[in-house]
Symmetry: C2
Subunit: 397 residues, 2 copies
């Protein structure tokens, strides 16, 4: 049998999915599982988008331009304008999800052995895209005790080398829910200009901020035309994860020329879903008011409920729909597995994402889990109750 590539062995398995076989077993035993482990919102896709779907009438479902349709890119420029980000359609390339936006961006800026600095914990799939190009992640630990705020600039300075090509971060952050302040984003700008490196800002949770002074984009910063790259997606914004529509936004024309070559190789992003994404930009503010209100309620339930559990420490989240919790256990991977395979409370249990997958060194996240609040408030309250009972039972074994 022919040998597979070395890369095939190095590609990291999804940390969210490694517990799935245990969950499947639990379901077979009739256990009901509350899924706190996934980033698939239960929130409905906006009504205008669902209406648009009914209205689409195409004779031929044809390729679109590789960079996305002109009309959608124009609409996106309008959307960013509303958020104080001044870009034109030429500064935008539509991608198949935020994932592809990252894949094309990293390929455009980094070669094997080059380094990308990422504050950790970070979105686990960053590892996959970086691995595909044999680029090296240089992690900078952020701490649960500071709610995962940006590490001090000196920490970045310490690890910047001639091979450093970029700093990559998500804001609001998946998995921590941290929202970077204006001052922190300005510090990243300074680092970029001083060391002549890119800042890649993953802003897919832009709208989901529950307190504080709002969202500061890397593209709000002055003088970032050459150095600023924003990665975005409609997935969470309009609860249309299945659409697979994202984009790369930058004023760096050479970068965009390179991203376009990657985009041309795969011909076109999905056509129908670009039509829906274009409609989604016109989603009324009332939708967001309702959705953000709902997420805030859920967040508050989790903060209150988890903080009340003895030995549990949380990173206070201000945005996205995740939080990181440190549990009074030695190994959260084992605990999460145990909750699925050996525990239940009245036939119910919870599934969490062990945080080890969100760290470059799994040991750093050994006691932590990521909890997504994509369940309704009643289910969340019940989930907290189950988690508390599970922790007691686990530590009393």
């Amino acid at each position: 049998m022919p040998r597979l590539s070395e890369l095939s062995h190095r590609m990291p398995p999804s940390p969210i999915r490694k517990l799935v076989p245990y969950a499947d077993e639990a379901k077979k035993r009739g256990i009901k599982i509350y899924h706190l482990n996934i980033g698939q919102p239960d929130i409905e896709t906006p009504e205008n988008v669902r209406r648009k779907l009914k209205e689409i009438d195409l004779k031929v479902l044809a390729y679109t331009k590789s960079q996305g349709t002109d009309s959608y890119r124009a609409k996106l420029a309008e959307y960013y304008g509303r958020h104080g980000i001044d870009v034109s359609p030429e500064d935008i390339i539509v991608t198949t999800g935020g994932s592809e936006a990252l894949l094309f961006t990293i390929g455009s800026i980094a070669d094997p052995g080059d380094e990308i600095i990422i504050p950790e914990p970070y979105y686990a799939n960053y590892n996959s895209f970086v691995t595909m190009y044999r680029v090296k992640v240089v992690p900078i630990p952020s701490s649960i005790d500071r709610n995962f705020a940006l590490p001090p600039v000196e920490e970045f300075e310490k690890v910047i080398t001639p091979r450093t090509k970029a700093i990559l971060y998500s804001n609001p952050s998946n998995p921590t829910g941290y929202v970077y302040t204006r001052e922190e984003v300005a510090k990243l700008r300074e680092l970029a200009l001083k060391h002549d490196i890119f800042i890649i800002s993953d802003e897919v949770y832009r709208e989901f901020i529950y307190e504080g002074s709002g969202h500061r984009s890397i593209l709000h910063e002055p003088g970032m035309e050459a150095h600023g790259i924003m990665v975005d997606s409609v997935s969470k914004r309009y609860s249309m994860c299945g659409a697979r529509i994202g984009c790369v936004v930058s004023k760096n024309k050479d970068l965009m020329k390179s991203v376009l070559k990657f985009a041309q190789a795969r011909l076109s992003p999905p056509a129908l879903e670009q039509i829906l994404a274009e409609e989604a930009v016109d989603t009324p503010q009332s939708y967001f008011d309702r959705v953000i209100g709902e997420y805030k309620k859920r967040r508050d339930i989790l903060i209150e409920g988890l903080s009340a559990i003895e030995g549990v420490k949380i990173g206070y989240p201000k945005g996205a729909f995740y939080l990181m919790a440190e549990l009074p256990v030695d190994d959260a991977d084992e605990f999460a597995k145990w909750m699925l395979s050996e525990f239940d409370d009245k036939g119910e249990t919870v599934m969490v994402a062990p945080a080890s997958g969100f760290y470059s060194d799994p040991a750093l996240g050994r006691k932590q889990v990521r909890i997504a609040y994509v369940l309704n408030t009643k289910d969340l309250e019940r989930s907290v109750e189950i988690l508390e009972k599970a922790l007691k039972a686990y530590n009393a074994r």
Copy 2:
């Protein structure tokens, strides 16, 4: 300004699109262009698929499984069964177009410096996917004088090295329209087993065969469980290029585990379009009868028309909807550009794809162009007429 990657410079620009600026200029001057350069069919998407689109009713446009929905994969297994290819849903991973299927496949089998043998001319974007992983294309020339049949086995033997990981080919072929015979596919099987290498067979044009004894898939061959990989797509089959739904099919379980890791990194293929692709499998045979009849008519017009032009030589196509023509010019790139920028016949001209982009060494295809027959018969006849006049005028300058 930060330096881009070396890869960004090495990524090949799309050969189909390099003439686009000249075409845009021509349009501005009011010239009508017949597009023989693109692979976007004018054929309507099947009615049942368009009806299905109207019926989709989703509350949440959610992620699907990374490997694709269970129901679509089951349907695909049924489809392949009808074509004598015995696979189960577990042997199928749904991808975002055939492009992503190639991207995940190549990443799973080849590391930097490894070699993939491809009979040339070949689909230009193969270069891009191979380049992304720093894998080397080893071309084997096929000849227009033999209608681009499979080169003799000895030619393969000559270039197989310890770094050879696979032979990649498309059948029916884009850009040549060649349909590999049962004997040729059997030869590839023998090479795979003798040298323990993969065969990657791109079969997106399976249905489009106009004469001869039908399609022979690499997965029809016995004993190819470990070595055979098929790449497929709904784009051309159901004229739904914009759907971006493809798949990797193989019985090699280790390979499929690797492909799944790549698939998990990008979370999910497009959700809506999987629903449509699933419906498309039930497209009635009458649709194909009509479409294949239409393409055959067009092919015959081209074969007859082009053969009648003095100095033009064609590779006789039996499938897909392309043919390669050698023109009585020194440089088909220059000629194609000239047709857009300096020539017209009664305000009309044609756009072709210079073949240089389909060869590893552009010089090999210097006199050739790829012609796609995605226009109606009347427009095709007119295109041939214009091409003939253009050649005369060009050579009389």
